[in-house]
């Protein structure tokens, strides 16, 4: 270890804590943060022991004692359920298409932010790749793990195709002239999404969806629908028109007061009491309806909190400036209200994503969790106590999705400057 004291003495302008020797800074850091007092030291030792033991046991499970053959062989069951092989191309098209759309949206918004002198400039080239990696590493790691577990070349090709599509979409998005309105882009994305759903659904009914694809579809479709409904409910609850207020309040309090799994069971079993069976929609549609009904009540309350956080002076300014009520809400109040509640909203979306497993449990759909459970009953793996392996795999997938959502929401918050007025 080199002594840094003389250097610091020779250059008195250097800040004293800024030590050029990394090893020196590690020991100082330890002393400053982990062993500042006797109590700190005890806590550090105890916590460190627990972390080491837990980490060791987990790593031993993952790399030594875990029997991952069951995951390897059932990968397609976990990811796509009992999706018929001859229809798999539909899924591939949709995955690649989604990558293209995501890349395009990213490129489009980045291009517009570059054009807006009031925003920070975006990163270029290699920095952008590093930034993307640091943002999406949970997803990247999970996908890499999935690819490592596969036994055929197909998934690799799909992944490669998706990456190429994302890059191409990104470049196309950046190429769009900055002055152009976002409306055609939004319409185009909506149209493509509907086309994707149609493509998945044509020749293959909702009810044969399964695996992770089912969880992801349930979550994305429900999130996309419950958000606008929740916003409308929140606005209705604050409306000056009493009937709207009563209806909205009644709805919110009803759906917040009942357990989700009860609603799902009801949609699965008891729907026949209300609608003739021939008219009742399929299970996936029922599940989506229940998720939307349930979550929009929560979204409404979150958004209502956001609406209350917007100072009344904002509405007065809009009125005094000649704006009518609808633009005041859509252009002034809602953007500020929603920006203020992004963390709670994303929390609710994450919760919905994880709750999609309840649809599997309550409605007999073979989602990711259901597939995992089913695989432990297969002849090859029955009675071997493999539930830990399968569950760890399932939880990893959910964690990767949820954690990515959470990180992206934090990024969005920083970008929109939440907390700054």
């Amino acid at each position: 270890m080199t002594d840094t004291a003389p250097t610091a003495a020779d250059q008195p302008t250097d800040p004293p804590l800024w030590s050029p020797s990394p090893s020196g800074s590690v020991s100082t850091w330890l002393k400053k943060n982990l062993f500042r007092s006797r109590l700190d030291g005890v806590v550090t030792v105890v916590a460190g022991t627990i972390i080491l033991i837990a980490g060791f046991r987990f790593l031993r499970f993952v790399f030594v004692t875990g029997r991952w053959q069951i995951v390897r062989e059932n990968l397609s069951l976990y990811l796509t359920g009992s999706w018929p092989e001859e229809h798999l191309w539909r899924l591939v098209v949709v995955v690649v298409g989604l990558a293209l759309i995501a890349g395009f949206i990213g490129g489009f918004s980045a291009g517009r932010i570059d054009d807006d002198p009031s925003r920070a400039v975006s990163l270029a080239g290699r920095d952008r790749l590093v930034d993307l990696g640091s943002r999406l590493w949970p997803l990247v790691v999970t996908v890499a793990l999935l690819l490592a577990l596969t036994t055929t070349i197909g998934p690799l090709l799909v992944a490669a195709g998706a990456i190429v599509a994302a890059v191409a979409g990104n470049m196309a998005g950046r190429a769009v002239p900055g002055g152009m309105s976002a409306v055609p882009v939004v319409v185009g994305v909506l149209f493509l999404t509907l086309a994707g759903i149609w493509l998945l659904n044509a020749g293959l009914s909702w009810n044969s969806w399964g695996g992770m694809v089912l969880n992801l579809s349930l979550a994305t479709i429900s999130i996309a629908l419950c958000f606008p409904i929740g916003v409308l409910l929140a606005l209705a609850r604050r409306s000056e028109y009493p009937i709207l207020r009563w209806l909205s309040t009644g709805y919110i309090e009803l759906f917040r007061g009942v357990p989700l799994i009860g609603l799902l069971l009801m949609a699965n079993v008891a729907l026949g009491f209300f609608i003739p069976n021939s008219l009742a929609p399929g299970k996936v549609v029922r599940a989506i309806v229940i998720f939307v009904l349930f979550t929009s009540a929560y979204i409404a309350e979150i958004v209502r909190g956001g609406l209350q956080s917007v100072p009344p002076g904002q509405i007065e300014a809009g009125k005094a400036n000649g704006l009518t009520p609808i633009p005041i809400i859509t252009r002034i109040v809602l953007p500020q209200a929603i920006r203020n509640v992004i963390p709670a909203l994303v929390g609710q979306f994450i919760s919905l994503f994880k709750d999609t497993t309840l649809a599997g449990a309550a409605m007999g759909l073979t989602d990711l969790l259901g597939g995992a459970e089913a695989s432990t009953a297969q002849a090859d793996f029955r009675g071997q106590g493999l539930i830990a392996e399968t569950l760890v795999f399932v939880l990893l997938i959910f964690w990767a999705g949820s954690y990515t959502m959470s990180r992206e929401s934090q990024r969005l918050e920083t970008k929109l400057g939440v907390g700054e007025r």
Partner: protein, 268 residues
């Protein structure tokens, strides 16, 4: 000369004594006749009678809680008056939403707390209403906004957000935002009260220029120098009533009401 014709006879003639030399022959820009407002049992405004002539600068002063802000907020219906009539540019304020919108379209208002839209750039703050209400194109609205920002001397701030500006700059943007709607009347509700002392003058200068250009202005303020130098008439309010109206000269040298004298002796 345009002595007001008291249709209902309830108006105090002294209120209009000095408007005659200012009125330019048209109907008044703002007319309040017997206006009262209550918050529960509390009378916020009692029988207010006032006329503001076109191109007049009317400064409203008085102790806090005297109803100054409530009065000008009634003019563009941010508050609802309970009794009396308010007519702005020939349009009477009623529950009719169209009348309220028509009055708000041609009335600008500047608030104590600026109330800029924090999520929009300065430029978007200014162009939002012209585009949505007047149907201007983005290009036309932005050209006009830049012109206004030149006028309030902060064109270089156009692409920043309000949070990045000083209080004085924000208030000048707020003035530009109101002017973008090409109002016939500007209401100022204590525009300098939330500002640090060194920023008050930059805002008052913009307001003075505006007055010179012939804008009709109603200004609630505690800036007595502004009242003295720029006002055509000064209104003194206390306890929800108009106590005295007069030219600045009359007002600051020889006020007739004891309450006015007491107030002025406290602050000058």
């Amino acid at each position: 000369m345009n002595k007001p014709t008291d249709t209902d006879g309830s108006a105090d003639p002294s209120v209009f004594a000095d408007a005659s030399q200012l009125a330019n022959g048209d109907a008044p820009m703002v007319e309040l006749v017997g206006v009262s407002k209550f918050f529960g049992d509390f009378a916020a405004l009692t029988n207010i009678n006032l006329k503001v002539a076109r191109q007049e600068v009317l400064v409203v002063i008085g102790p806090s809680g005297s109803g100054k802000s409530t009065m000008i907020r009634c003019v563009n219906r941010l508050e609802t008056h309970d009794v009396g009539r308010i007519v702005v540019d020939g349009i009477e304020l009623s529950d009719d939403v169209r009348n309220i919108q028509a009055i708000r379209r041609e009335t600008g208002m500047v608030f104590q707390q600026f109330n800029l839209y924090p999520h929009l750039t300065v430029l978007d703050n200014i162009t939002l209403s012209p585009r949505l209400v007047r149907g201007q194109t983005r290009a036309a609205a932005e050209a006009k906004a830049m012109e206004l920002l030149e006028r309030v001397q902060i064109p270089e701030q156009a692409h920043k957000r309000p949070g990045q500006l000083s209080g004085g700059q924000q208030q000048r943007v707020a003035i530009a935002r109101s002017l973008a709607m090409e109002p016939k009347l500007m209401l100022f509700d204590e525009p300098t009260s939330a500002l640090d002392p060194e920023m008050i003058n930059e805002v008052l200068e913009v307001m003075t220029d505006l007055a010179r250009e012939g804008m009709t202005m109603v200004v609630v303020t505690h800036e007595m120098n502004f009242a003295r130098q720029v006002a055509d008439r000064v209104v003194f309010m206390a306890s929800g009533e108009v106590v005295e109206v007069g030219t600045p000269e009359h007002f600051f040298t020889n006020p007739s009401e004891p309450r006015t004298q007491a107030f002025l002796s406290q602050i000058l």
